[in-house]
């Protein structure tokens, strides 16, 4: 049985761990609130952009001169994956889930004979994929140390993807990220950026005169400006969802850790008290038997 001193040290150490995890849980909770507000604030833009895109895409998608960003290059040989993770750990299986999803995707695509290129956003994703797929990594971004994701940061990544597409460096682009379902549930999701999945349009509305838009200067010019913007927005949305998910995952991971630490402290305290009692009993027996012997 462990000595009293060792037990006491252990109890103290678990207690301080519990303090840390419960503090982290509270920090995550307040950051989660902020991330959720940000995600909600960004929604109107994305929704309206979707609506405009729907109006434009219908007419443009059929024409052979439609921009590449809308219809892709017509091939699917070179696949670009954007893997969005957090910069920090201690968030349960949050990062591992995305990492695993990305790995499965890479394996699946390579089994089909496709060429895979990977850009990671967030440090953990890079660390996860670097071991096995270092040769596929063509770029990495990390916004570590930033309080929140700014749209201008995302713009940089989007500009790079746009340039790569213009140069014909990939055919299909997919983002892998954690979709924020609720505080306790984040689902690794693949969502395609290029070619753009056409937004669903309610067929009833398109027949009305409402849907007949005029365009200025013309559809092509607007589409050419709108598509890169849309890509940045989609990416931005993935990033803020992932940021909210990270805080949610951390919150529940730290909640569990705090609870486990509590259980452990209870067990150790019980053990400590039993040992203490046993020691007292043993000492008493020694004294009594010593007195009887005289």
């Amino acid at each position: 049985m462990a000595s009293l001193k060792a037990l006491r040290a252990r109890i103290n150490s678990v207690k301080s761990t519990r303090k840390i995890t419960s503090a982290m849980k509270m920090v995550a909770a307040s950051k989660l609130k902020r991330a959720q507000t940000q995600a909600e604030a960004a929604r109107p833009y994305a929704e309206r952009m979707q609506r405009m895109l729907a109006a434009l895409a219908v007419s443009a998608a059929g024409s052979p001169t439609a921009p590449r960003m809308l219809i892709g290059t017509g091939r699917d040989q070179v696949q670009l994956l954007i893997v969005v993770t957090a910069d920090r750990g201690l968030a349960g299986a949050f990062n591992t889930n995305v990492g695993r999803a990305a790995r499965t995707a890479i394996q699946r695509l390579e089994a089909e004979g496709k060429t895979v290129k990977v850009i990671t956003v967030g440090r953990k994703g890079r660390d996860y994929l670097r071991r096995e797929y270092a040769s596929r990594l063509i770029g990495e971004y990390s916004f570590a140390g930033k309080k929140r994701v700014e749209f201008s940061d995302v713009d940089e990544v989007a500009a790079r993807i746009t340039a790569m597409l213009a140069a014909g460096e990939f055919d299909v682009c997919t983002v892998v990220y954690n979709r924020f379902m609720s505080v306790i549930s984040q689902v690794p999701t693949e969502s395609r950026l290029v070619p753009l999945p056409l937004p669903e349009i309610a067929p009833v509305e398109t027949t009305g005169p409402q849907a007949q838009y005029e365009f200025e200067p013309d559809e092509e010019a607007i589409l050419a400006a709108l598509l890169p913007r849309n890509m940045a927005i989609q990416l931005f949305r993935a990033l803020i969802e992932s940021a909210a998910g990270e805080q949610g995952a951390r919150m529940s991971a730290m909640d569990n850790a705090t609870r486990n630490a509590g259980d452990m402290i209870n067990r150790l305290t019980l053990n400590y008290n039993r040992t203490r009692q046993a020691n007292i009993t043993r000492e008493l027996i020694e004294i009594i038997s010593g007195a009887e012997a005289i």
């Binding site: 940000q38 604030a41 960004a42 109107p44 833009y45 309206r48 952009m49 609506r51 405009m52 109006a55 434009l56 700014e150 749209f151 409402q210 849907a211 007949q212 838009y213 005029e214 365009f215 200025e216 200067p217 010019a221 607007i222 400006a225 709108l226 913007r229 940045a232 927005i233 931005f236």
Partner: protein
């Protein structure tokens, strides 16, 4: 009097949503006044100022660096890349942006037309910003 609902949205948030009598927006091919009952349109915006008219007078002005607008009979939705009330436009930022854009123009390949267009758009947006800062 009928009003049209003007909404200005930037990527991070909904900046403004209010009924106005008329909104003047900097469309790519010149300023455009939007009144209630306008024909549905989608327009590209260039750098410039959006002016809100209420009760027959201009009430407030916002600088936008570019974006899109969707106009229907009852509303006008502006998807701005960036929108700042004219009073808060910083002259210094405008000057830095203009000098950056000028430098980019000087460095740009004059044969690369799409690239040149982009740079000139930036110059134009920066000049509009400076003009807005001066007007404030």
């Amino acid at each position: 009097m009928a009003t049209t609902l003007l909404e200005i949205v930037s990527p991070d948030r909904l900046l403004l949503s209010q009924p106005v009598d008329m909104a003047v927006i900097p469309a790519a091919e010149g300023e455009m006044g939007v009144l209630p009952g306008h024909a549905p349109m989608i327009v590209l915006l260039q750098g410039g100022t959006i002016t809100l008219h209420e009760g027959g007078r201009p009430t407030s002005r916002l600088y936008v660096s570019g974006g899109f607008a969707e106009i229907t009979a009852e509303r006008c939705t502006v998807l701005a890349d960036e929108a700042i009330p004219v009073a808060e436009v910083s002259r210094k930022t405008a000057e830095t942006r203009l000098s950056e854009a000028d430098a980019a123009y000087a460095a740009a390949d004059k044969m690369d037309i799409p690239m040149l267009d982009l740079v000139m758009q930036r110059q134009q947006a920066a000049r509009a910003m400076l003009a807005a800062a001066e007007a404030a």
